[in-house]
Subunit: 333 residues, 2 copies
């Protein structure tokens, strides 16, 4: 990570490069989140859509399509599709996690109710499927419907695996592929598919999205234990308090002695937490180099993302995507 | 309704006629509800799928396809798609309605939790989209993705309209088209589309499903006020207690004097119900012929369904679908 990259945030450079297309995506999103009959739908959706997320996923689709020479209009539809799927999963996630805050604002389930979040999420999923049908490309439909199934499967797996100390790194990776990487990889892959790129390029775009998504989620899970809450918008230890078995804890559990294992069993599996437990968890994480090792894993995946870009045409967007992979892990560097 | 029809239940005759295909549908459903990684998914799904529902919607798809001369294998995929969408909406409905019972058994949200119902529902939606992509027919995808959006929109509309005394018969019809008729009409329409039927036939199949679905839901709402709980599996007055503004009450509210309006405002809008309120509600419904008029509406829609069949080829299945429309309203005759 050099100074130039650090000072010019790649996701902002991407946004500038893709500005015209992203405006079309935003217009389409606002157009399609409307509902003639049920005003609750755009109300709830706008609360999330206008909350100032980075729109990383739709930008990945647009960037992949342009990188592979796409000239048509449907990258906009697919980018909006990807953002709708993402928004729908956020609505349902907040219900499942009983969250009260997202991006520093109260969640929709708190402002309205769980019912609205469930049903408006369903509506956005359906809108996503309507949008993805419009380009008339069956392979795109195949990729996005498979990604949707992987996302939901990952979420269900997380339900049962999150508080189970037997969850190992392989299961963690499956969960992460489901909850995060599947949509990243579908977002980049469909960009290549509508551009009719070579198979090797489409495959490299998939690899990039997959690795970037995994790096992104590992960073998120790491920051939960060592982040600066002002910068991340999250409180240190949220995952611990919510008894989520993420990579740092999985690594510490794998090296735990009997007494330490009893601590994790009590705090994560049984959820009987006391004052001082988070501090003790941090001691154990540091004792076993779990945070350091987790950081190494994030860097490994970011590097994998960057390497996959070597298959793609030389283009300013290629460099931006490489820089983006660095940027994703810069928060922990 | 003659004696022959009454004694030979059309949905059972349909099931017999479509037995081989329905076995293929059931095999496909069980195959696709599996999950390599998350055993919670087939557990929750099986609880609903194996609960002994009538499988009316998939039978409508198979019947429509056969009636229009379809010979290929994809009617089975589309029938399974329709059943998956239906199952997913049931899972989410039970969360939204906070239901404890369905088809005389505890609901999934009670046996597991709301989280599992939300996420397994999402998984089944995604599986439905995977299945519907397989026939490779873009018009089918268009119809089913539109139906999914209409279903979700109807559910959200119901959220806000159900306890609002300004809800009139037009809004009720929109809700009913969303929550019930949209899937019926999509089920019949896609059967005609994959059979490459004439446009007039496809349109008639849509009309049949739409009218049958509306009749079906009106009957359901009527039986809530005058059904035999042993036969229906529901308790009289459930909708009243849950403050759902269905057609009988909408009709009574439209004719209410000031005092009666105050009663509906208190019991439905404000939900401050007391002993004897259900009995008084029934008095008001009868005073204004609301149950009788609701019954007439159900018969009107059943008749409309039957009439639309005149556009379709003469075939034993056509008669079965006509009889099915009679059967749907037979419960209130």
């Amino acid at each position: 990570m050099n100074l130039h990259q650090a000072s010019s945030k790649p996701h902002e450079l991407l946004a500038t490069h893709l500005e015209a297309k992203m405006q079309a995506v935003n217009t389409l999103i606002h157009d399609r989140m409307a509902s003639k009959h049920a005003p609750r739908i755009p109300e709830v959706t706008a609360h999330l859509v206008d909350a100032g997320g980075k729109r990383l996923r739709p930008m990945l689709t647009l960037a992949a399509a342009e990188l592979c020479g796409y000239q048509g209009p449907f990258d906009v539809h697919l980018a909006a599709t990807v953002e709708f799927i993402h928004t729908a999963t956020l609505l349902h996630d907040d219900v499942v996690d009983e969250s009260g805050q997202r991006r520093g604002r109260p969640t929709a389930n708190l402002l309205w109710d769980n019912k609205s979040s469930v049903l408006v999420g369903d509506y956005l999923f359906a809108r996503a499927f309507q949008l993805m049908v419009e380009p008339g490309n069956l392979r795109v439909l195949d990729i996005l419907s498979n990604a949707s199934a992987t996302i939901a499967e990952g979420e269900v797996l997380q339900l049962t695996a999150a508080q189970d100390l037997r969850t190992d790194e392989a299961i963690y990776l499956q969960v992460v592929r489901g909850k995060t990487a599947a949509l990243f990889s579908a977002a980049t892959q469909v960009g290549g598919v509508i551009a009719e790129a070579h198979e090797s390029e489409i495959s490299a775009l998939y690899d990039y999205g997959d690795a970037l998504g995994i790096a992104f989620q590992i960073v998120d899970d790491l920051l939960d234990y060592q982040g600066d809450s002002k910068a991340t918008g999250k409180n240190v230890g949220d995952d611990f308090r919510e008894r989520k078995l993420t990579l740092p804890v999985i690594k510490a559990v794998a090296k735990a002695d009997t007494e330490e294992r009893a601590f994790w069993t009590r705090t994560i599996e049984k959820g009987r937490q006391e004052d001082g437990d988070l501090e003790h968890a941090l001691v154990l994480l540091n004792k076993h180099d779990a945070l350091q090792d987790t950081r190494q894993d994030a860097l490994f995946w970011a590097d994998k993302a960057k390497q996959s870009m070597s298959q793609l045409p030389d283009h300013s967007l290629r460099q931006l995507l490489i820089d983006l992979a660095d940027y994703v892990v810069a928060r922990i560097n």
